[in-house]
């Protein structure tokens, strides 16, 4: 049972030392979880990342839940997951409270206006990076374009686009596989 506080503290350390989550977290996890604690192997970690990318939600939560469950069943999973989000809860709450209390001051508003312009640039550069991986071929581009235009001109819930895009993914890939098979038989 000594493992429960240890899981919490280790994952809290992972949470506080990573910026941005996802892949930024991988080196920290390798150091803390694989090398220092030996709670998982490199291969296991890679597997959990692959799962994290196939399942919804925050990858950090996938990883901490998996390793927490492996080491301490349900209490372990809760302790590790709470650990990884705990630093965010504290730090962001403090900063948000500060921003809300001081947002009336003129120079804070000027600073925030500058930051908002900067954020646009950061978001677009993330989208470009993401699209390079997420849109590998023409059918994927068609899904991308359809979802973009539909969400621009309608206000249907994103949930609908997610479900439809998942279904479209299955249809496109099954059709492509079928055609390949047929072509293969013909030769």
């Amino acid at each position: 049972m000594r493992q429960i506080p240890d899981l919490f503290l280790t994952f809290a350390r992972v949470g506080v030392t990573t910026f941005g989550g996802g892949y930024a977290m991988l080196p920290v996890l390798q150091r803390e979880v694989v090398e220092a604690k030996q709670w998982a192997t490199e291969e296991e970690l890679a597997d959990i990342y692959a799962i994290g990318q196939c399942t919804p939600g925050v990858i950090a939560v996938n990883v901490s839940t998996y390793i927490g469950y492996k080491k301490g069943r349900l209490p372990g999973a809760v302790a590790a997951t709470f650990g990884v989000v705990f630093p965010s809860l504290v730090i962001i709450t403090l900063i948000t409270a500060l921003i809300r209390n001081f947002s009336g001051i003129a120079w804070v508003q000027h600073a925030l206006a500058g930051i908002r312009a900067c954020v646009c640039a950061l978001v677009f550069s993330s989208v470009i990076k993401l699209a390079k991986k997420a849109v590998p071929d023409l059918p994927a581009f068609l899904v991308f374009a359809a979802v973009f235009l539909l969400s621009l001109f309608t206000d249907v819930s994103n949930v609908v686009w997610v479900v439809a895009a998942g279904a479209a993914g299955v249809m496109i890939r099954r059709l492509a596989a079928l055609r390949k098979k047929k072509g293969g038989d013909g030769t």
Binding site: D47, G57, I91, A111, G114, C118, A140, N158, V159, A167
Partner: protein, 187 residues
């Protein structure tokens, strides 16, 4: 009952956002449009704070939003809603890890989802950019097309975009520098 709605909105976000990092942004944008709990300007502050503090971005965004809507209990509830889907899914697939990862239907669904996720983030990013870089109210009043653009923020965003893609470095530095430029130029 604001807490229940907050939990439900973030549960949906956690369940349907795939791809990590900015994947929650389109859902937060729709939440903003639907509930009016926070402003679009709040949304870009959220991105800035989430990018420049440690911790997974999805969790940071949920904390910021939850706190803005309903204080500390709001932050806790939003984060709980955001992480619960990923937590439950890992507990469910824990034993089927290998089969799940290599299942061809999982791969096919993902093929569609990744493209849709990139499109949704692009669309939400454009909405955020609209408030930071354009001045729609002034344009509506005067009807003069050039009044639509805010020249200084557009220049700043362009400079950040080019530098960030050429030089790299952590987003935090660009956010801090842009805040400083905002104060100096009284943006």
């Amino acid at each position: 009952m604001i807490y229940l709605r907050l939990f439900w909105e973030f549960f949906k976000t956690g369940l349907f956002s795939v791809g990590g990092g900015l994947a929650t942004l389109p859902f937060l944008y729709q939440m903003q449009a639907k509930t009016g709990w926070f402003t679009v300007a709040d949304l870009s502050n959220m991105i800035a704070v989430s990018e420049s503090t440690p911790g997974p971005m999805g969790i940071n965004m949920a904390t910021y939003t939850g706190y803005t809507v309903a204080g500390i209990p709001g932050a806790l509830i939003a984060v709980a809603g955001e992480i619960l889907p990923a937590f439950l899914i890992i507990l469910i697939v824990y034993r089927l890890l290998d089969r799940f990862k290599t299942n061809r239907y999982v791969q096919d669904v993902l093929y569609g989802l990744r493209a849709a996720s990139a499109a949704m983030i692009l669309m939400a990013g454009l909405r955020v950019a609209q408030t930071a870089l354009l001045d729609v109210p002034a344009w509506r009043v005067s009807g003069a097309f050039f009044e639509l653009f805010r020249p200084l923020p557009i220049l700043l965003a362009a400079a950040v975009f080019i530098l960030y893609r050429k030089v790299g470095k952590h987003p935090l530095w660009y956010i801090l520098a842009s805040g400083l430029i905002g104060v100096l130029l009284k943006l």
